[in-house]
């Protein structure tokens, strides 16, 4: 039988000694995001014409760090329930609840609609996941539209968030995420979703406008928090005329 080279055994023994002592190595503290971001305090009393009815802070429910429900009512009587949820870590402990999955598990009838971006500014959009849900046996249907903001990026791709969490776990980080959800209870059978899409889009745009920079970052992503380029004046003529008159009078005063 040929003799085993001693160097090989020595190298393997050294590496396995590292393995043997590894359980007693000190643990590296993970970079954990804040456990609270103050979602309830972000909610404005008015979102355009929509007025806030109440803030229901139900933190600690179902594992999320923060869960806030806020019904907003329009002067025309329509209602949008805004739900904000924050999870500091997308592993089991503080994982968000994905509405299209939760409703299905609960036994509700759900109808998925094509995913569509929601433009909150000319060059700023968030992807959204719209669907109808209805309690089993109930005739009352609700139009729901939601998106997630994971690590500053708006998305509706749940497997991508999970994959991100996996990679982050490998790198010793946690993946924090916020869910923004709008529910529009329907009082009649609606066959055309365009009106519902427009209504929730309008609400989201007004919400974006009403929020401070930190709120925009949390609910619409990092890009939304950056200063936006100023929109061009609506009536150039008016501004131009003012300037001309100003210049005219300046000149006459000077002469």
């Amino acid at each position: 039988m040929p003799e085993r080279p001693r160097m090989e055994v020595l190298v393997v023994a050294v590496l396995l000694t590292v393995v043997a002592v590894s359980p007693w190595l000190p643990r590296v503290k993970k970079r954990e995001p804040a456990t609270r971001v103050g979602l309830a305090s972000l909610l404005p009393d008015h979102v355009g014409e929509w007025g806030l009815l109440e803030r229901r802070d139900i933190a600690g429910v179902d594992g999320a760090n923060e869960l806030v429900e806020a019904p907003y009512v329009h002067p025309d009587g329509s209602l949008i329930q805004l739900t904000l949820e924050y999870g500091s870590d997308q592993r089991r402990v503080h994982e968000l609840h994905y509405p299209h999955i939760c409703h299905r598990v609960r036994g509700d009838v759900i109808v998925l609609l094509p995913q569509a971006p929601l433009y909150i500014d000319r060059d700023l959009a968030v992807p959204t996941f719209p669907f109808h849900w209805r309690e089993s046996g109930s005739a009352r249907s609700v139009y729901c539209r939601f998106w997630l903001v994971a690590e500053g990026t708006p998305t509706v791709d749940v497997p991508k968030v999970k994959l991100h969490q996996l990679v982050n776990g490998f790198l010793g980080r946690s993946t924090s995420a916020v869910m923004v959800r709008m529910d529009l209870p329907l009082t009649e059978v609606v066959t055309d979703d365009a009106r519902l899409r427009a209504m929730t889009a309008q609400f989201a745009v007004e919400l974006y406008r009403a929020l401070p920079s930190e709120g925009r970052r949390l609910l619409f992503g990092d890009l939304a928090a950056a200063p936006r380029p100023q929109a061009a004046p609506k009536t150039v003529l008016r501004g131009g005329m003012k300037a001309q008159l100003f210049r005219f009078f300046s000149k006459t005063e000077g002469t």
């Binding site: 590496l15 000190p26 643990r27 996996l166 776990g169």
Partner: protein, 290 residues
């Protein structure tokens, strides 16, 4: 025969591995193997460890198993180094999946560096069997559990309705209207999804096929059939439970039979696998004899 001197080095190295990995597996035994979050998918691990050790012992009994390797060691070094890095990284971060899974590249790497290609091939399966013992991340189980629950509920409720039973599906539950007018509800929770038996059946299927005298390609093809057989077994188990609930009440269905019915699914899957393996083996023999 194994001479005493041959065993000194492998035993010493195995001792180092034990020191490094016993704390990891004690952690699994305390938390993960019985964890509700993993839907009981690893309750079989207590049995799988002795099986793995038996496979190891069986492989090492072959004569000349511990002959040293003489050429091309660098792939083994790479594997070993990767495993050590993963283990240390997992320990530093407290990442349980990495801590356990790193044993596979470490053990395979060490064997590849020190022993012949024949030894490596013989020990590959016993080492890779760890895949059925080390729990995967929760989200993998979650991702599988929900569709399996939906599939089980839909297929069973539609099948029962097709043969005339008054059944209604509500999400992940079935409601049967019994002959006495009573409503019998069956909730298909995580443990009924079939995930618990799926991982165990994958382990058992892999073990069974490893021991069969079949070509490697046939073994892989049959192994790929195990998930389908496991799902089928679970559907039949839920179907029978639903029928008992309908005819004898939910208490009868939830009692002794509910625990016992797991065995039905298990037997159906394993029986299907045994029959297929036997058929293929017979075909092989006939082709060989012709």
């Amino acid at each position: 025969m194994i001479r005493d001197g041959e065993m000194r080095v492998p035993l010493a190295l195995a001792g180092l591995l034990l020191v490094g990995f016993v704390p990891v597996f004690v952690g699994y035994a305390r938390l993960d193997w019985r964890s509700h979050a993993l839907a009981g998918a690893y309750t079989h691990a207590w049995l799988a460890i002795p099986v793995m050790l038996w496979l190891f012992w069986r492989a090492t009994r072959q004569p000349g198993m511990f002959e040293p390797r003489l050429t091309r060691r660098w792939p083994g070094y790479l594997l070993l180094a990767l495993g050590v890095v993963l283990k240390v990284h997992g320990e530093l971060l407290g990442y349980n999946v990495l801590r356990g899974m790193s044993l596979i590249p470490i053990a395979l790497g060490a064997v590849a560096v020190l022993y012949s290609a024949r030894t490596f091939r013989a020990l590959f399966f016993p080492i890779a069997f760890l895949l059925f013992i080390v729990p995967v991340p929760n989200f993998v189980i979650d991702t599988l559990t929900l569709p399996l629950r939906g599939l089980s509920t839909t297929v069973v409720s539609r099948s029962l309705a097709a043969v005339g039973y008054p059944v209604e599906q509500t999400g992940m539950a079935m409601v049967l209207t019994a002959p006495d007018g009573g409503r019998r509800q069956l909730d298909i929770d995580e443990s009924c999804s079939g995930i618990r038996s799926l991982v165990a059946l994958l382990a058992l299927g892999a073990l069974f096929l490893h021991l069969q005298p079949l070509r490697p390609g046939v073994k892989v093809a049959l192994f790929l059939l195990v998930p389908a057989l496991a799902v089928l077994g679970n559907l039949m188990r839920i179907g029978v439970t639903a029928l008992i609930a309908y005819h004898a009440g939910t208490e009868a269905a939830a009692g002794f039979f509910h625990g016992f019915s797991g065995l039905i699914g298990f037997l159906i899957t394993l029986g299907g696998l045994v029959v297929l393996a036997r058929l293929l083996a017979r075909t092989n023999e006939e082709e060989g004899g012709a």
